[in-house]
Symmetry: C2
């Protein structure tokens, strides 16, 4: 029985037009990574579950795609455990491997396994799909690409400055106007300490983040509900209402954080990154945002987030500095800083703004029609010459009706059709039709190469 095929929910096929657009994004990012001296690695889609489990929290463990062991996968599994029906406990007994959930944990595993072959500081980039058993929804998929670049084994803030330049260059090339938001985890820690609530750093950050939407009084009420004292709230209030230019904000923060060691250090780092960036110049807007806290438990210094200025969408790139990439795999003290480009959201932004260059269609530049054996033979000879000149060319393989042949070129968006019929055979020429203007010209082979180059 023939079955009606489908694909797993949350996954996607990419057709040629989508592929051309995605390749344009990936190629742009990859070229800038290379330009900045990053080196590519790849890791297997499957990792041992022991590498993945426990790295993304309890929720993350559930979202890992686990691969059933081959062969007699029930052998040695306690039957009473199976009878218990406790799936989260049973799964690791049936599965040794899982699909990559992000690129960071595999990178950490890579660094530990290959540390004797690596030269530090190590600047790596990685562009590969990851898989998460999340509930699929608009813009959220179970298979999607991450594009990560990290520098590890260096505490220098030059790395942050360089990554900001890199972000700037990628989005400049893509034609997307962006705002880069900047923060430092130590500033958040300092504020929480000054408020006498060092453990409530997350609550405080979440509250600060709402100021634009709900206003100061509601933020204060929110903080009260989260158990902060009035005096703590009064300490935090000036941070919440921070305004003015970056310079003014830095000045005000400096006054607020005065005397707090962590906060002052964070501020100093932030200043150094901003000054270094200003010195080199940036096409993007750079904005200090003390509410920015991405992956708070992971980052320990600089925090970076990128927003598109002309489309309403979540952050399209993010990253920051971390202290301990590989400790969980037995290699302590590997610090670094990294960024991750959100390819799927960047794709959505480019689509929304229609920013793709016109020459990325991913088709041949010219299709030759086919009027029969003699004409096809001549066409193939010419096609060979075109290809030798680097021009993507093809022939319609069957001597079908001309309407059908032209229809295919039209449907694919092939920009030119070349016709070799009886007349052209006699005159040793080719008729070239521009598919967008309809214009037709008779050319010899040299003229054809010129016209299509």
């Amino acid at each position: 029985m023939a079955q009606k095929p489908s694909i797993p929910k949350g996954t996607r096929d990419f057709n040629p037009v989508e592929m051309a657009r995605r390749n344009y994004i990936f190629d742009t990012i990859r070229n800038v990574f290379y330009l900045f001296g990053f080196q590519q690695i790849e890791t297997p889609a499957m990792e041992n579950l022991s590498t993945l489990m426990g790295k993304y929290g309890e929720e993350g463990d559930k979202l890992l795609f686990k691969i059933l062991n081959s062969g007699d996968f029930l052998r040695g599994v306690d039957p009473t455990l199976i009878e218990s029906g406790d799936c989260p406990k049973i799964a690791p007994k049936l599965c040794e491997k899982g699909l990559r959930y992000d690129l960071t944990v595999p990178f950490a595993r890579f660094v530990v396994m290959h540390r004797n072959d690596l030269s530090f500081p190590f600047k790596r980039f990685q562009i590969q799909p990851v898989w998460r058993a999340d509930r699929p929804q608009k813009g959220r998929y179970r298979e999607f690409y991450q594009c990560d670049a990290d520098i590890i084994g260096s505490d220098s803030l030059l790395n942050e400055i360089d990554l900001l330049q890199l972000i700037d260059e990628v989005f400049h090339r893509l034609g997307i106007r962006i705002t880069i938001k900047l923060n430092n985890r130590k500033i958040l820690a300092g504020i929480a300490e000054l408020a006498g609530e060092p453990d409530k750093i997350t609550d405080i950050t979440v509250a600060i983040d709402k100021i634009d939407k709900i206003g100061l009084e509601n933020v204060k009420a929110d903080l009260r509900e989260r158990g902060l004292s009035e005096s703590a709230i009064n300490t935090i209030a000036p941070v919440i209402t921070l305004s003015g230019t970056t310079e003014e904000r830095l000045q005000k923060l400096s006054e607020i954080l005065n005397g707090n060691e962590a906060g002052a250090k964070g501020l100093e780092e932030l200043k150094e990154v901003i000054e270094g960036t200003d010195r080199l110049g940036l096409k993007a807007n750079l904005e200090l945002d003390v509410s920015l806290a991405r992956g708070l438990n992971y980052y320990t210094g600089t925090i970076i987030e990128v927003k598109a200025r002309d489309v309403e969408i979540g952050s399209i790139t993010g990253g920051g500095r971390y202290d301990n990439l590989t400790g969980v795999f037995g290699l302590p003290g590997v610090s670094g800083v990294g960024i991750s480009f959100g390819a799927d959201r960047i794709y959505d932004v480019l689509n929304a703004l229609d920013l793709y260059p016109s020459n990325i269609a991913g088709t041949a530049k010219v299709m030759f029609t086919n009027f029969g054996v003699k004409e096809a033979e001549r066409s193939l000879e010419i096609i060979k010459k075109l290809r030798e000149s680097g021009i993507a060319a093809e022939i319609y393989p069957d001597a079908a009706k001309i309407k059908k042949q032209m229809g295919r070129a039209d449907a694919l968006g092939i920009p030119f059709v070349a016709i070799v019929g009886e007349t052209e055979l006699q005159n040793e020429c080719v008729t070239l039709k521009n598919m967008s203007t309809g214009e037709q010209r008779q050319l010899d082979v040299c003229g054809l190469i010129d016209a299509l180059s």
Copy 2:
């Protein structure tokens, strides 16, 4: 407790040097695919198990990596089935999805799902990893890439001629000298029919294939063991000892197959492909090989196989014509012809012959040393200008000992080191060191850009 990390057997990490080499292969193949008018698609790593099961034989079903269902995967599974311990029967109850085993079945599924959006003839290429739970051994991995190109919806032999040109171009660009072996399934069918053993086509082909290794008498003995009569063996013998030029072989085959419809048709097709190819010219050797039978049950016409001439290794590319790509998914009559490049073996051949171009290292072209704040600031300004000129450049991020900095450039194979020290700051210049010759030059920024372009 820190764990010592590892990766699943049969999988691989790729370091920057390996990535640069692999990208060189994939980029070469992709560029030629585009040049010939093929369009790229991608399909998800995970397919529904119903799409994959039963497509690769019983053995193939076992080699599929199956993905455990999320959540309460035991719910609704008959406990007596679990108790039976019949893993091959239990697995499909626990798993709805599996990893792609090849690119052909997902392509067929893609064509059926998207047939209303496709324009035929459809020329697609696809370069993606596939996964097989095979026993890992030298040169055989559980995760490896396939690079496939197919033309579907056309019976024209021009497609075969074009694919042979494409193969020729790929290996010419890679610098690998090859022999392309050619056969036609209908010729094999014809021989089996003439021998009165149409069902023994596989036995006959396997026997013919051994002639070089074991000699005619042993092949005959082999055929006897496989149950062929003496008269059948006498009919086949001239095919086994086919020799001479391609023209002579075609002539002899024509005599042998005289009067057999399938055989004559196969021979006619083969002649047309060879003549068309000769007309256009081929850098590779083209060889008629009647023992060639790759995937016999799948191919129905032309069969293609590529061998490297200068390295002892299995076939590095193969393909052929098929009649019914999508029938199993309810869409009959989709015929086509395709080829698949074996990226891992091509990688081995290039390594064995050391055929990589020197400029594919995948590092920055120049690393700036770091002597401190002032020097680094000046270096970053220059680096920005280099990058604007398309030159991949970076700075050592810390003011570490110079030996350590130079050591990194050396280890990564970065071809040039640029030094901005006190003297260079004063003189507004840069000292550029060629890392392979040791030569040093003092240059201004324009001179530096020229030297590195």
